[in-house]
C-alpha cells in the first residue's frame, strides 16, 4: 500500500512545469513608454511613469483573465471580411457583417451571432458553408492559442516603431501583439515548443524551434519566408547583424547564415557540449558560452576559433563586450572579464556572486550589472571587477532570478524574478532601488 501511495504521489506530481524567464522589454511608442513584463505565462504592459512614481499603472495583460472575451486577431478578422467581400450580397449587408466580425471573440456568443447573420444573408449555400467553416477554424485555433501561452523564455521582439511585440511561447505559438492594446495582430503555430525568442529586423522576424529549425517569417502576417534545419534544438534567440543571422543549437554548433536566404556562411563546431545561449558580438568576433564550461571567441570572417576561456561550470548567459573586454557570467556563480585579443583574464579572478548566474548582464551607469540566481543584484566596476557601493541589492527575499536584465534609455534597470513582480533600479549613479511592483 505504501508503494502504491508513493507511486500515486509521483504520478500525480506530473512532469516539471515550465515557468519561463524572458526579460522585461521596454518599448517606446509615439506618445508613451511602456514596459512589457513576461511572468508565469502572462505578459503585462506597464507604464513606466506609473511604475516609477508608485502608481503602477497596468496597461493591459495578455492573455486577459477572461480569455473567452478576447477578440480574434486582426489578421483573421480581415481574412473573414475578405471572404465576405468576395460574396455576391449587397454592400450594405457586407458592412453589417463586417461590424459583427469586428466584435468576434475567440469563443462565446459572438461567433453564433455572426454565423446566424451569415446564414440569414442572401449568400449562396456554398459561400455560407465556406465562411462559417473559416470562422470555426479561426475561433477554434485562436481560442486554443490564447488559452495555452504557458511560459515565455525568449526575448520579446519589438518592431522598430514600437507598434508590435512578437512573443514566442513555450507551447509553440508566436503572437504578434499590438503594444497599445495587447490584442493580437496575428498568431501562428510553430508546430514545436519554443524556448527561443523572436528577433526583429525590418519586415522580417526570426526564431528558432525545439525541433531544430531556424525560421524567417514575415513580420506582417507570420508567413514563413525560409526555414533551415539545424543539427539540434535551437534555444537561443537568433541574432541579426548586417546581412547576417547568427544562431546556436543545443548540440553545440554556432551558425552564421545569410538573413535573406538562410544560406549557411559558416558553422562553428568547436564546442564539446551544448549551447543554449545567444551569441555576443563585436566587429570581428563572435562570443559564445557553452555547456563544456568554455567561452569561445570565433572569427566572424570564417568561423574559426580565436581562443577559449574556461570556467568551473556552464556558460548560458549572453556575453557582452566593451572596450576590448568581453564579460561573461557562468553557472559556477562567477562573472568573468576576458581580454578579447587573447582570451586572458582582464580581472585577477572572476567576481563570485555566490550563486549560479543564468541571466545575461548589461552595462549601465558605467558599470556592469549582474544578478545571481538567488536574487542578488550587483553593480561591478568594469576595470577592477569590484562591487560598487550598494551591491548587492536584494530582489525580494532571495527570489529566484533567471531572466536577463533589461535597461531602458533612462538607465532604469528592470529585473523580473520568478515571483510575480517587477523590480526597478536606478543605475546611472550607484545602484538604487525604485521599488518592486506586483504584477496583476
Amino acid at each position: 500500500m505504501a508503494a502504491l501511495l508513493a507511486l500515486v504521489a509521483v504520478a500525480c506530481s506530473g512532469p516539471p512545469t515550465p515557468i519561463g524567464w524572458a526579460a522585461a522589454s521596454p518599448v517606446v511608442l509615439e506618445d508613451q513608454e511602456i514596459v512589457l513584463v513576461p511572468n508565469d505565462g502572462q505578459l503585462t504592459a506597464l507604464a513606466p511613469t506609473g511604475v516609477v512614481d508608485g502608481s503602477g499603472f497596468s496597461q493591459w495583460t495578455f492573455p486577459p483573465r477572461d480569455r473567452d472575451l478576447y477578440p480574434v486577431s486582426t489578421f483573421s478578422a480581415d481574412e473573414i471580411k475578405d471572404a465576405i467581400d468576395g460574396t455576391t450580397i449587397e454592400d450594405g449587408a457586407k458592412e453589417d457583417l463586417a461590424v459583427r466580425v469586428d466584435d468576434l471573440r475567440v469563443s462565446g456568443p459572438t461567433k453564433e451571432a455572426l454565423q446566424d447573420a451569415i446564414n440569414a444573408s442572401l449568400m449562396t449555400d456554398d459561400q455560407k458553408d465556406s465562411i462559417n467553416s473559416l470562422i470555426d477554424q479561426v475561433t477554434e485555433f485562436e481560442s486554443g492559442a490564447v488559452r495555452n501561452l504557458e511560459a515565455i523564455y525568449g526575448d520579446i521582439g519589438v518592431s522598430a516603431d514600437g507598434d508590435t511585440a512578437y512573443v514566442a511561447s513555450f507551447r509553440g505559438f508566436v503572437y504578434a501583439l499590438d503594444t497599445k492594446t495587447g490584442t493580437t495582430r496575428w498568431l501562428r503555430d510553430a508546430q514545436s515548443e519554443l524556448v527561443s525568442g523572436v528577433a526583429v529586423d525590418g519586415d522580417t522576424i526570426y526564431t528558432g524551434t525545439r525541433d531544430g529549425q531556424l525560421v524567417a517569417a514575415e513580420a506582417a502576417d507570420g508567413d514563413t519566408i525560409w526555414a533551415i534545419d539545424l543539427e539540434g534544438e535551437a534555444w537561443a534567440t537568433p541574432y541579426v547583424d548586417g546581412d547576417n543571422l547568427y544562431a546556436t543549437s543545443l548540440d553545440g554548433i554556432v551558425y552564421k547564415v545569410n538573413k535573406e536566404t538562410g544560406d549557411e556562411i559558416w558553422r562553428f563546431e568547436g564546442a564539446k557540449s551544448g549551447i543554449a545561449g545567444r551569441i555576443g558580438k563585436d566587429d570581428e568576433t563572435v562570443y559564445i558560452g557553452a555547456f563544456d564550461n568554455k567561452l569561445y571567441a570565433i572569427n566572424d570572417r570564417d568561423g574559426t576559433m580565436k581562443w577559449s576561456f574556461e570556467a568551473d561550470n556552464w556558460f548560458w548567459a549572453t556575453p557582452i563586450e566593451r572596450d576590448g573586454v568581453v564579460y561573461a557570467a557562468s553557472l559556477d556563480g562567477k562573472m568573468y572579464a576576458v581580454n578579447t585579443n587573447d582570451g586572458s583574464p582582464a580581472w585577477p579572478s572572476g567576481f563570485d556572486t555566490g550563486a549560479p548566474i543564468r541571466s545575461a548582464p548589461v552595462f549601465g551607469g558605467d558599470g556592469l550589472l549582474v544578478v545571481s540566481r538567488d536574487g542578488k543584484l550587483f553593480k561591478l566596476d568594469l576595470e577592477s571587477g569590484d562591487a560598487i557601493e550598494g551591491s548587492p541589492a536584494l530582489i525580494g527575499d532571495g527570489s529566484t532570478v533567471e531572466a536577463d536584465l533589461a535597461l531602458d534609455e533612462n538607465e532604469l534597470l528592470y529585473v523580473v524574478p520568478r515571483d510575480p513582480s517587477l523590480w526597478i533600479f536606478e543605475v546611472a549613479d550607484g545602484l538604487r532601488s525604485r521599488g518592486d511592483f506586483p504584477l496583476p
Binding site: P15, P18, P356, E402
Partner: protein, 318 residues
Amino acid sequence: MGFGDLFNFLLIEPMTNVLVAVAQVFNGNFGMSIIIFTLVMRAITWPLTASQYKQSKKMQEMQPKLQELQKKYKGKDPKKLQQETMALYKEGGVNPLGCIFPMLVQFPIWIALYQVINRTLGETPESFVGLSQTLYPIPFIHTAVPLNNHFLIWNLGQPDPTYMLPIMVALTMYVQQKLITPAPNPNATPQQQQQAQTMQMMTWMMPLMFGWFSLTVPAGLALYWAVSNLSGVVFQYFYMGRRVEWRNLLPGMGSAKAPAPAVVKSAKPKAETKAAAVVEEASPAIEADYTVSESGEATAPDPQSGRRTKHGRRRGKR
C-alpha cells in the same frame, strides 16, 4: 541539511551522474543508460530478493505452529497469542516485516529516477539549470549534455503517447506476478483462501496500477519498470531450472493443474534455498508454494491428497 537535501545528496546526485556517465559511454543514449542501470540495480538488490524469499518460506513453514497457537489462544487471550507468536518468530529467525524491506528499497530508487529523468532530459529549461548544479565537475560527465532523450520510438522525458511502454510494463509485471503466485487451493482454510484470493487479485491489480502510472510518468521510468520486470522473469526462469509453469499465465488454468498446498511441509529446507531466490521483490506478500527437490524437480501439492507432484521435468523427459 534537511531530508530533501539528504535525498538529493545521497541518491539523486549520484544516480544522475552515473546515468549521465553511462549515457556518455553510449554516445549520449540515455535509454541504454537506463537499461544498464536497471540491470545493475537488479544485481545489487538480488541478495535482498533472495532474503525476502527465505523469510517468506520460513513464515510458510511456521504456519502449522501458528495455527496451533491461534487455536489455543484465539478469543481467549489475545495478548498471550501475540506474545507467543512473536516468540515463535524470534525462535524461527523470522522478521514479519522482512518481506517488505526489498520493496521499500525500491521506492526511493523509483522516486529518485523520476527526478533524475526530469532533470537530466531537460524537458524544461529550468531543469537544465538545475542539472548544471547536480553534475560532478568531471569533464567526461559535464560535457555529456545535452543527452539524447530519444530511445527507439520514445521520448524518455515525456509520457509514452503510443501506450506501448505502459502495456509492456503491465504485461511483464503480470507475467512476473503470475509466475510466482501459487494457484488457489480448494482445500485451504478460509483464512488461507482469503489470502490466496488477495494474492490472485494482486496479480491483476499491480500490473494495472503500474500500467496506469506508466501512462503519466516519463517514458524513461516506464522503461525502467519494463526492463526490471523482464529481467526478473528471465532470472526467475533460469533460477527455476527452466521449469516455469507457463500455463499459469492464462487465467483459470492454474487452479486445476497446480493448486497450492494448505501448508508446506518440507523436510529439505536446504534444498529449497535455490528456489527461494526466484521470488521477486515486486510482491513481498506472496509466498511461493513451489519447492525444488535436490534433483531439481519442481513440485506442487496434489489437490486431493496433499502429496507433492512433479511438474515440468516429467514433460521435459518426453
